[in-house]
Amino acid sequence: MKRWEHFSHQADIGVRGLGATMAEAFEQTALALTAVIADPTDVAPSEMIRISCDAPDAELLLVDWLNALIYEMATRHMLFSRFDVHLDGNRLTAKAWGETLDTARHRPAVEVKGATYTELEVVQTADGWLAQCVVDV
């Protein structure tokens, strides 16, 4: 049940996470975000950072979460491959593990510049939760 996938959106790309809980879906969406750039299995979870954000609803919270990760990736020059998300209402606290970007080893395909409100959904499905949006590359 726990998995991530990409979906197409013209020149950009959609990230989708599925999980038993909304927090798990958020973790999987983050993994899908990393996978836009590099193979997450090549990213060692050796350094941990903490992220927290809150938003008026779950959809805005998903965008905030992904944008927080994008900001950390951009300013720390890191990639992340392991996530632990806790949700308390519409407040998110998370740990993300990763390592410094190594161009030769990670071979980054593109740089993700922002998460958008396009195709944005956080919904409960028959199997659990789905979280998705388009990211601008």
Binding site: T75, H77, V110, E111, K113, G114, T116, Y117
Partner: protein, 313 residues
């Protein structure tokens, strides 16, 4: 796209009559062939834009229109500030003021054929591009604010270009009303590492050969003829613009109801031009235009100048 949705006003003009919450008509300029191939989302986005407060005359889309964020790419709309008109962070977009600049090298294809590979290697080494690349220009807080305010003029003053360049840049290379104080520390931090770098994705620098001339009089005015070699650069405000866009889009989504604005799409989040939020955004956006028309302009220049400087050393 279903042409039955439009009134065919003239050969290249297709109108959408206002319906529902549309305040003005939608107008797409395109040939029938282009219209048939155009993404159906363009119709939806043109009609959504037509619902925004204070829109003047029509919600337009150009022949290259395609599915964008809120606005179609190639969408055009004007808003009357005195009639409740809005500025939309989504409409302006994330990569604020991205664009392409083409520089004539004065060289021809014969000049570069023999050194093609060496040239590609030299450019690759001289111009930082791709994810995680960093430039050689580091700015402190004060210099960052000067750069955001001064744009290409700032760059020229520091020797990264010539005054002649400014004559070929919109607004003389410096956008009036740029307010660095409205640009968050996060946005400035993203800019800091990206100074003098080209970026990734659809940002590129290409050495191009002129192969066809469609309008000889215009080509002659630019001094361009077949066989000429030009350098084309696509760049934008990148992390800086994205951070500005993301932060204001969110604030505008949250504030919309308070302004009595019903958003047909969250990507169209906007605020009245004559509101504190609208003015703060305009100040940040104009500083982000340096982020492109200035940063990108200067970035376009700096990237090249970095290269030139590197080759000299």
């Amino acid at each position: 796209m279903d042409l039955a949705l439009f009134e065919h006003k003239s050969e290249f003009e297709w109108h959408i009559r206002p319906f529902g919450k549309m305040r003005v008509p939608g107008v797409i300029f395109a040939s029938e062939a282009l219209m048939r191939e155009m993404d159906a989302k363009v119709y939806e986005q043109v009609t959504n834009v037509a619902m925004l407060p204070g829109i003047v005359r029509s919600s337009f889309a150009m022949p290259d229109a395609h599915w964008g964020y809120g606005f179609p790419i190639g969408g055009v709309a004007a808003f009357d500030a005195d009639a409740g008109g809005v500025v939309s962070a989504g409409g302006v977009g994330f990569d604020i003021s991205c664009g392409v600049r083409t520089l004539h090298t004065g060289l021809t294809i014969e000049d570069i054929m023999a050194v093609k590979e060496r040239l590609a290697d030299a450019l690759y080494h001289a111009i930082p591009a791709g994810m995680g690349s960093t430039g050689t220009i580091r700015l402190d807080d004060k210099q960052m604010n000067s750069m955001l305010r001064g744009g290409a003029r700032w760059a020229v003053e520091r020797g990264f270009g010539t005054t002649g360049d400014l004559e070929r840049i919109e607004e003389g290379g410096c956008m009036h009303g740029a307010d660095p104080a409205q640009v968050s520390e996060q946005a400035k931090k993203r800019q800091r590492d990206e100074m003098g770098t080209l970026g990734s994705g659809n940002h590129y620098l290409e050495i191009q050969q002129v192969t066809d001339v469609y309008q000889p009089d215009i080509a002659a005015a630019f001094g361009v003829k077949p066989g000429d070699i030009v350098v084309s650069i696509h760049c934008g405000s990148r992390g800086l613009g994205h951070q500005i866009g993301t932060e204001f889009l969110r604030r505008m989504v949250m504030a919309a109801a308070g302004f009595g604005i019903e958003l047909p799409d969250r990507e169209l989040a906007c605020a009245p031009i004559n509101s504190p939020l609208g003015q703060e955004y305009l100040g940040a956006m104009r500083a982000g235009i340096p982020g492109s028309r200035n940063v990108a302009v200067y970035r376009r220049r700096l990237s090249i100048c970095d290269g030139v400087a590197d080759r000299r050393t």
